[in-house]
Symmetry: C3
């Protein structure tokens, strides 16, 4: 792709030779001549200009620089991310349907144009896959699953029957979607646990990304829902009946118990634990390893909670300081 | 199934039309006319009676109600769970063996009547699978594995060689059973870790359920054992040589280190950490994110432990209150 | 294998009948007549000598004992581990290449002599697999992956394109190597997260072992690296751009955020959380469930850190004691 085309697509001001051919993105240290890099901070500009990259995306601070073609924009990192996406799409363009001969696709399944089904993937009865979506090797897509357009499933993903996914959903290897929730009824006479029915479903909206080996349970009787644009890291667990809003960000190994409500724009650090029936209101942030007890409600856009039980960070820090004094700094 | 038959099977008192045809279970909000719902609390009775469901399981408090067929019982939720099981069994009845043509079953494997082996599953030499058990797509069942009757393995489960499973065991997608424990001997001369042999085995008793992407290691030289009726959620780790009793409940992302002993009826919340050689005596409860240090013994039926290091909840709460005072509530 | 040969190979002094045939290793309770056991502590010597084992590896303290053949060494556990390895190698010797007929191997892949590819494994274009390595059932090995000699991949492992692995690497079932890191750029205008490119790679050096269902992300633009001899337990997460040194030990369910540097000989307990850009210097130990905040540097060979935020254990214990006093012991 020519640098000029990228400039237009990411809405940046071209400065220098627009005919440079760009084939990928890279860091300052790994770049070679057809790579694009970005510099957000003035102090890295010199090394950006000296490195082997073909061109640099940078802020207005770079406008006076020479020696390399530049794309000037107010948001270099965002423009870089978009340029990377464009370049990747160019490489992966799928023009026709491709079903590997070792895949097993049920006769009743409906696959859109440009769908790829890789080696040994299994597509069960009545599955729908929208155009340009790809199903990785060894994936198991259960009966009645609906997958939107432009989705990407990496290998060995399992989707339980009846799950619905929107468009542009990315699911990394080994993730399990729509599994049974953890619910039992104890028979007080025998002391044994009997399985409570887990027959609801899982709905995943557009633009969601789910990390490797994460698990999301379907609803017990109703539904679990992951809102549009929500991003979930590796080894995350989301229990049955949870309702996640839009643009929620969840770092690795966090666990959300059944029936929690996580509103739009919430951010959860790594290894956070959210108990059952918790409500995190819009824009709440819970720091890594924080724990929110059962049925608790936390609120406040941009308010950061920390610790177990999670409390506002100022309070948490005061308590830490008091404890440090108590215990002696050494 | 007729409502009358369900009433008999779950031991509830039928009130109203026993000829209603019931095909599934649902919640008050999702029910349609052939669904059964349950109401445990008097305050939800009115909405239960008004919803679209065909019939309602409820407690004695509902006996005077009109407008819908009722199943009256002392334990509505338990009766509901049993009704759901009955209805699901009706749908899944397996009358004959079914080995998908893409599955790979070793000639020496012995499969009972009614066994299903789904797409691309691999059954190695000398495996035994009891009647009516099903092996999901992409499962890998190692040599010498013994699986009992009426077990259900969801897709992409891996079972290492030599593992033994009882009857009515459910294993969710992506779980790994019988993997090597984490044991090394450091050579002090070279500083390198050499692998300690992990050649024991894993035994899982009847009625155990194991969540998606959980991992249970086999014994190093002896065995790891999961007792009858124990329920394990998603992404749980159980180390080598652990001995778990009966009816233990373990919520998601909890980890149990090597050689721990977890007696009958213990309950572990989510993200709990149990160090090596810990003993949790019968009926102990450890709250979410609790941590039990190495070789510690906790005891007391129904006693709740909280925090790290886990201590009785009253003590934990007092300390929290004292800390809050120290740090200032804000 | 004759006991005499084992004695020579593990550098132990044979005492008694060197012609005893040994076929495996076992514990005192599980041993039968062709098994080898070990005793590290004088107090278990009597039961070791009385059990059914064919021979005992023990320390100098056992030199005066009778009744069983002995291998005397300064490091019985290490000698036992090595004997176990020898015996296992004897059983698994691979003399020729074996590609299961259900495996899918791209024409451009290069497989060394003695390579085994099990049922339904997928080997993509331009993959290299070194001699005597084995690829388990259902593994998906992406394009351009390079695997060294004598590696062992258990079933259902996924390796993303471009990952490089050294020799003698063991990867347990369900692990995911080289997946996308968790990186987004928020568009402040729309509030939506756009994916930051994750196009770097993952390098795993010799003698690394990776546990079941663990996930290691590739670098965003550069590389993630796992140093020689590092051992990683089950369900561990390692984020993009992390640099792990040699002989690092990481227990189950620990998570390491992006761009952390973990130097040689660091030991991390279970469920530890390491935030982004942390540096743990050589030989640091972090106890189970500890948390190290963003950009923190911890140093000191053999220094044990505990708690969140992780502090030296003496300080942690003092604070615990002070808190216990505050809260009242009961």
């Amino acid at each position: 792709m020519k640098l000029r085309e990228i400039a237009g697509a990411v809405d940046a001001r071209l400065q220098g030779d627009g005919n440079i051919e760009i084939t990928g993105v890279a860091s300052i240290t790994s770049a070679s001549e057809h790579d694009l890099i970005f510099v957000e901070d003035h102090k890295f500009l010199a090394s950006g200009l000296e490195c082997a990259a073909g061109a640099v995306i940078a802020g207005e601070f770079a406008a006076a620089s020479r020696g390399k073609a530049l794309l000037i924009t107010d948001h270099p990192k965002l423009a870089f991310a978009r340029a990377a996406k464009l370049l990747a799409e160019g490489k992966q363009a799928r023009t026709e349907r491709k079903i590997h001969q070792t895949a097993t696709v049920h006769l009743s399944a409906r696959l859109g144009p440009g769908v790829w089904v890789e080696e040994r993937a299994v597509i069960a009865e009545d599955v729908q896959v929208g155009e340009n979506s790809s199903i990785g090797a060894g994936c198991s897509i259960g009966r009645d699953v609906k997958i939107g357009r432009n989705c990407e499933f990496y290998p060995n993903v399992t989707i339980y029957p009846g799950t619905t996914l929107g468009d542009h959903v990315i699911v990394h290897a080994g993730a399990v979607l729509g599994s049974d929730g953890f619910g039992y009824v104890r028979d007080s006479r025998t002391g044994r646990y009997e399985k409570f029915p887990q027959v609801g479903r899982l709905v995943i909206e557009d633009d969601v990304e789910i990390g490797a080996n994460s698990t999301i349970d379907r609803g017990a009787l109703d539904e679990t829902r992951i809102g549009r644009g929500t991003k979930i890291d590796n080894l995350v667990h989301i229990g049955h009946n949870c309702q996640l809003g839009e643009n929620v960000v969840i770092a690795a190994q966090t666990g959300i118990s059944g029936s929690a409500v996580i509103e739009n724009d919430v951010v959860l650090g790594g290894q956070v634990g959210i108990a059952d029936h918790v409500r995190l209101e819009e824009g709440v942030i819970v720091g890594a390893q924080g724990g929110v007890p059962s049925r608790k409600i936390l609120r406040g856009k941009g308010v950061v909670f920390w610790g177990t039980p999670a409390r506002p960070i100022q309070q948490y820090l005061k308590q830490l300081a008091a404890m440090a004094k108590l215990g002696g700094k050494r």
